[in-house]
């Protein structure tokens, strides 16, 4: 499979008259770990649901492993792992029974991996799922998703409810296993440090639009924060070439995020007096883009 395992083009979705996604496009490279970041209510979960064919977009198309998301075949489903935000399914069963039950649907099910993880995380197979803590339940969901040896793994804010240590453990496991098997991963989060820890690419949703898609390694070279003082701000033209966001500060100045193509020059005001050129960290960049 040479193409993108998960992509969408021109997605538009409206709920009760409110636009939730506006012309959103995304394409995941095979083997990439893609972090989808955005504030609460930005549309991350809706986008994931549309990408997986769980929701129908008003317009646009979503494709999973070269098949329309709304008509995914069983062959594709067997190569797809999914971890929801709050995995509560089959909560009435025991851990071992649930994993056996789900494993029967996947020919590539990795039972030794399941047993190893349960042992490593000290989760007894005989425990009822409903009695597990949220962190343990999230770990079980991750084991379940990774044990199918997925080619594509989608996680919807997998670590949102976890404490920092549990979150780090979970993400480490995700990065390790996905890296070993070359799995393409898409995970949504609003915690920037999670992105820095595992993601190879980052996408940012803001105000229902995709405002940033970039490889993590290139961010510093391709994105800049221009701090424009108040005098210079008055003289600036409307929109700069490559401008992604513009925020007026309390002192009357402007904070502008600009992007350039690799090797290209920065937009004109970057070197002028009254304009401070900064190379923003990921957190600053996301805050500027979404504030």
């Amino acid at each position: 499979m040479g193409g993108s395992p998960l992509r969408c083009e021109g997605i538009f979705k409206r709920y009760d008259g409110n636009v939730v996604l506006n012309d959103v496009s995304l394409s995941l490279l095979p083997g990439a770990i893609f972090g989808l970041v955005g504030r609460n209510g930005a549309g991350k979960t809706t986008l994931i649901q549309i990408l997986l064919g769980l929701l129908q977009a008003d317009s646009g198309s979503a494709v999973v492993m070269d098949e329309p998301a709304l008509a995914m075949t069983d062959a594709s489903k067997r190569r797809l792992g999914y971890v929801p935000q709050q995995p509560e399914t089959l909560g009435w069963m025991h851990v071992g029974d649930m994993l056996n039950f789900v494993g029967d649907f996947y020919p590539m099910w990795d039972q030794p991996y399941v047993e190893d993880c349960l042992k490593r995380w000290s989760i007894a197979p005989s425990r009822p799922l409903s009695k597990l803590s949220p962190g343990e339940r999230q770990r079980i969901a991750l084991i379940r998703a990774l044990a199918i040896r997925p080619q594509l793994l989608v996680l919807d804010e997998p670590a949102a409810a976890l404490d920092p240590v549990a979150r780090r453990d979970l993400l480490r496991e995700l990065a390790l296993r996905a890296g070993e098997s070359g799995t393409t991963v898409l995970f949504s989060t609003h915690i920037v440090s999670d992105l820095e820890r595992v993601a190879s690419h980052v996408a940012c949703l803001h105000h229902h639009k995709m405002v940033l898609i970039a490889p993590m390694d290139d961010l510093k070279e391709t994105h800049a924060l221009l701090q424009v003082n108040s005098d210079m701000a008055e003289q600036l033209p409307g929109k700069l070439p490559g401008e992604l966001s513009r925020r007026r500060r309390s002192d009357g100045g402007l904070s502008i995020i600009v992007v350039r193509d690799s090797g290209a020059v920065w937009p004109a005001p970057a070197g002028e007096a009254g304009v401070q050129f900064e190379s923003p960290g990921l957190e600053d960049l996301i805050i500027e883009l979404t504030s």
Binding site: Q49, G53, D74, E88, T89, H94, D97, F101, D104, Y106
Partner: protein
């Protein structure tokens, strides 16, 4: 602005259990009062009996919810949890015992003696502890193969009440044993020529069976995004349309079959009465209407392309079941209601069902309010 006590109660129970409690409470008490105030002797007995059963069910769910809250409070070391629990218990008992007895005394002046049985409702708090002795999880014994029936897979996802069990499992033996114990009083009452008592027995069984299935379905629907998504992405369930059809079959068939069986036994008992032909016809018409309405909802859902948007209609259909079941199992005697009052009863049930659904939706909105413990932080 909502005062602290109901918010504390809501936080103590959690949205899912609180939604169920609200449905039991509004539907049980409201229907009982409305039916009881019609001043039909048979209906007054039904109304009070129904409320007593409803109050027990409410208390049982409350006990489960409170147990869950206490466990979380212990893990999180929540401050002031004892006082919150005390206030929640006090509010609960006021709602379940004191207010209903007062309302029954005001609105149903005659034949409401059975309402004092509500005083036994707090015993429902012991139910979860008692259930631990008889509960047995269905063991899968190798699991369901991926080439198995989609409906069977979906039933596993809906919950314990719907899960298929193998003949060799402990759960199956327990069910058979329960059936045997259940059928003894029924056979005894019929053999002693007391069809009315048998119909009471069937009516109470139908309510409990419906609550059992509804509880599992409500749990499944409460976490609907995650549950449906995981189910929809499971291989082997086919095209979204066939998957949706299988989900309806799985969700509707077991409770409908169980309750229809009970209704059929009740109808057979009813047919012993010489003047029951009209009421049997009415039952038939109501059942036909519900089946057609249900078929319409299901058919409309089958034309959708996405995989997860079907819950509300399914839920409404499920909630409409007791509208048929409860009046159909109405014990008939020489005091049985007239055609007119009988139809009014059905409409009242339907109306109260609507109120319960609105209450459910409102409660879900309330559940999104900040936790009372976090106020002022």
């Amino acid at each position: 602005m909502i005062s602290a006590a109901p918010r504390e109660l809501l936080a103590t129970f959690g949205a899912d259990h609180a939604a169920m409690l609200c449905i039991f409470y509004v539907y049980g008490l409201g229907s009982a009062l409305l039916i009881g105030s019609l001043e039909v002797p048979a209906a007054v007995n039904l109304a009070t009996g129904m409320w007593v059963a409803g109050s027990l069910a409410t208390m049982t769910v409350a006990a489960v919810a409170i147990g869950r809250f206490t466990l979380s409070a212990r893990v999180l070391r929540l401050p002031g949890c004892g006082r919150v629990l005390f206030r929640s218990y006090a509010l609960l008992l006021t709602l379940i015992v004191i207010i209903p007895i007062a309302l029954f005394r005001i609105f149903i002046p005659e034949g409401r003696e059975l309402i004092w049985a509500t005083l036994a409702a707090p015993l429902g708090l012991l139910c979860p502890k008692l259930m631990k002795f008889v509960r047995s999880l269905p063991r899968l014994e190798g699991g369901i193969p991926s080439n198995g029936l989609p409906t069977e897979t979906i039933r596993m996802y809906i919950g314990r009440a719907f899960a298929p069990v193998s003949f060799a499992s402990a759960a199956f033996k327990l069910r058979i044993l329960s059936l045997v114990f259940w059928s003894v009083p029924l056979l005894l009452t019929v053999a002693n020529g007391r069809p009315r008592a048998a119909q009471w027995y069937l009516a109470i069984t139908a309510i409990l069976v419906w609550l059992w299935f509804m509880n599992a379905l409500a749990q499944f629907i409460q976490c609907r995004d995650a549950s449906f998504a995981e189910l929809a992405l499971l291989p082997g369930l086919g095209h979204p349309r066939s998957q949706r059809w299988a989900l309806y079959c799985a969700a509707l068939a077991p409770p409908l079959l169980a309750c229809s069986l009970l209704a059929a036994i009740s109808l057979i008992l009813m047919s012993w009465k010489p003047d029951a032909a009209d009421q049997i016809l009415l039952h038939g018409l109501i059942l036909l209407f519900l089946l057609l309405a249900g078929a319409g909802v299901v058919t409309a859902q089958l034309f959708r392309k996405d995989r997860t948007r079907l819950t509300r209609s399914g839920l409404l259909l499920q909630l409409s079941m007791p509208i048929y079941i409860w009046p159909s199992l109405l014990p008939l005697s020489q005091h049985s209601p007239s055609w007119f009052k009988y139809t009014i009863l059905g409409l009242l049930f339907a109306g109260m069902g609507g109120v319960a659904i609105v209450a459910w939706i409102q409660l879900r909105k309330l559940a999104r309010l900040p936790h009372p413990f976090l106020d002022g932080t």
